[in-house]
Chain length 355, copies 2
């Protein structure tokens, strides 16, 4: 089973084949990564991006390291540290790379350890696809027959390496012949909607309409949209949700007009240690991203900017969470705690069966 747009392919013993996302949508350029150096360059330059996809790339790059540099523990530890440091704010990258290192060190040094790393990378990719598919299958029935939905940023196969989260739900509802159109915001400042989501929707044959972020409230007010579905970067214990900046504004407009507002996110995105949205740290990004794009500048030089990467949507504006274990409805604190506890029990049982 392969992702609909194959942002990554694992070539065991050879390298990693990735789609260069910085060239989309103008060109579909694939790169063969066969060195740690080259893979880290691709991560740093955002040729691969999206938290779940970065996790897969991290696991695969550690396999590349073993093939390129040998499977000695010191070599792999150095490589894992280097990979994780390439984008320190991307939690999945460090977490999945560290897991890959543990898996490798349980096997004796040599060809078996290298083979284990490649098998692990393939397994990480396969699990992502399965989790996205399960989440999408739970979410698709929320989309009514003939429905149009609005989404924000890119939550597709390009971001997860699998099938997508919010865009996975949209794909599944389209495959079920219920969804008839997807509206996508441009998503300033980095334009992931205009560049990536529109490209994925076109590839999937889904009727798509692009709008400036400014037009989202007017679109929702017009009655054209039956649901808003977005992803998440971190969900607090009470359901407050950090996601790509602009999400909160969509939630306010949806609430005003009685349009359901869904968050599609895997359980790894829930953070029970964070009690509420005010405790979620928000990354601020460079002023140069605002007032221009791709080297073109629209604004007087040296202008000050306000450029948070994320905003927080309060729990009361969210209709439901779509996860790989089903749909969570209010009251969210209880639903989240119950679901995470069930997941932990199952994970413990699976671990006991393996050992």
């Amino acid at each position: 089973v392969e992702s609909p747009v194959a942002p990554i392919r694992i070539l065991p013993g050879l390298g990693i084949d990735v789609l260069d996302q910085t060239r989309l949508p103008q060109a579909e350029v694939r790169l063969r990564l066969t060195t740690v150096e080259g893979a880290c360059e691709s991560i740093a330059a955002l040729r691969v991006r999206g938290a779940p996809l970065l996790g897969i790339v991290g696991a695969a790059t550690l396999a590349v390291a073993a093939t390129e540099l040998g499977s000695a523990e010191r070599v792999l530890r150095d490589a894992a540290a280097r990979i994780s440091a390439t984008r320190p704010t991307a939690v999945d990258l460090g977490k999945v790379t560290t897991q890959a290192l543990s898996v490798a060190l349980a096997v004796p040094e040599g060809p078996a350890r290298t083979a284990r790393l490649w098998a692990n990378a393939e397994a990480v990719l396969a699990r992502q696809f399965e989790a996205d598919r399960a989440l999408s299958a739970f979410g698709a029935p929320l989309i009514g027959a003939g429905a149009a939905v609005l989404t924000h940023c890119n939550t597709g196969a390009l971001a997860t390496g699998g099938y997508g989260t919010a865009l996975g739900v949209i794909r599944a509802a389209f495959e079920d012949r219920r969804l008839v159109r997807c509206y996508a915001t441009e998503t300033r400042p980095l334009l992931q909607g205009a560049r990536l989501t529109m490209w994925e929707l076109a590839r999937a044959g889904i009727a798509a309409t692009l709008l400036p972020d400014t037009a989202a409230a007017a679109l929702i007010a017009s009655g054209t949209v039956d649901a808003v579905i977005v992803g998440a970067d971190r969900i607090a214990a009470n359901g407050d949700t950090a996601n790509k900046v602009g999400t909160y504004g969509l939630a306010l407009a949806a609430a005003r007009h009685g349009v359901p507002f869904y968050i599609a996110a895997p359980l790894t995105t829930f953070d029970p240690a964070t009690r509420h949205g005010a405790a979620i740290p928000i990354e601020f990004r460079a002023a140069s991203e605002v007032g221009g794009f791709a080297g073109q500048r629209w604004t007087p030089d040296g202008a000050d900017s306000y450029n948070p990467a994320f905003d927080v949507t309060p729990t009361d504006l969210i209709t439901a969470f779509i996860t790989e274990r089903g749909i969570l409805r209010p009251p969210f604190s209880a639903a989240i705690a119950r679901t995470l506890a069930a997941e932990a029990v199952d994970a413990g049982r699976a671990a006991a069966e393996v050992s």
Copy 2:
């Protein structure tokens, strides 16, 4: 008295001197318009833009016509029709040009009629400046000491030819040493905030911060902004307000966080014949404006777009209207009707004194 940024200067008997707004902020290029042909090209190419400024340009271009082509009634009627047709949706352009024609035809053909047209153009510009100044003086006290405000699009001297509406209030509050910072949205798709408002604020020495439209709700939620002030394109009898797309989203966020939301607009913007927002016709613009800018494309070719130029903010989200006759507070239907009636009485009295 001259506009702070002088988007237009009337040169009686010679022509019109305008700032080419399409070259901002990279270059401050002034053009001397001495033919009807040249003036219409500048209007069509958006070198001059903003409804009130277009009215002034229309009146001045009819004076250019008399100087260039002679003041015969037929010549002026043809010129007025051509000017008005250059941007048919801009109400002020046609209205003020037609008024200029009436003024001219009350004077015998010849040098006196031509001189009358130049004097009329100067008077139109002076009246705009006075109306903007009055509106700004009423609005400035609404801004508290040390306050930061958020605005949208461009409502400055560049748009009115005078002192500005919402940006006029901001200028006046800054001159009163109360306003400390102005936040400006980029205002996709045409980026009037990034290109024009940031330029005007820098020229005025006002501390300014640019944000992506997506970040406005986060900014308002952060408690940094003490008021939102925007302009208007048409205000219905009940107070529902059409303005640059994106305004409605700002109003929803302001209401959620208890931040005052002000509309600054001259009384000519109020349309008592339109009962409510649903009756306001909304202009939709070209798909090519979305997914790119200035020849650069970010989106797959041929993408469908949703691109309304305006949205409608419902009256219940508006704290007050700032006009040249003072501040209008809820209930708005009564306040608007009372203010327009008083304006009509004064206008009738002024006309009676002249005749």
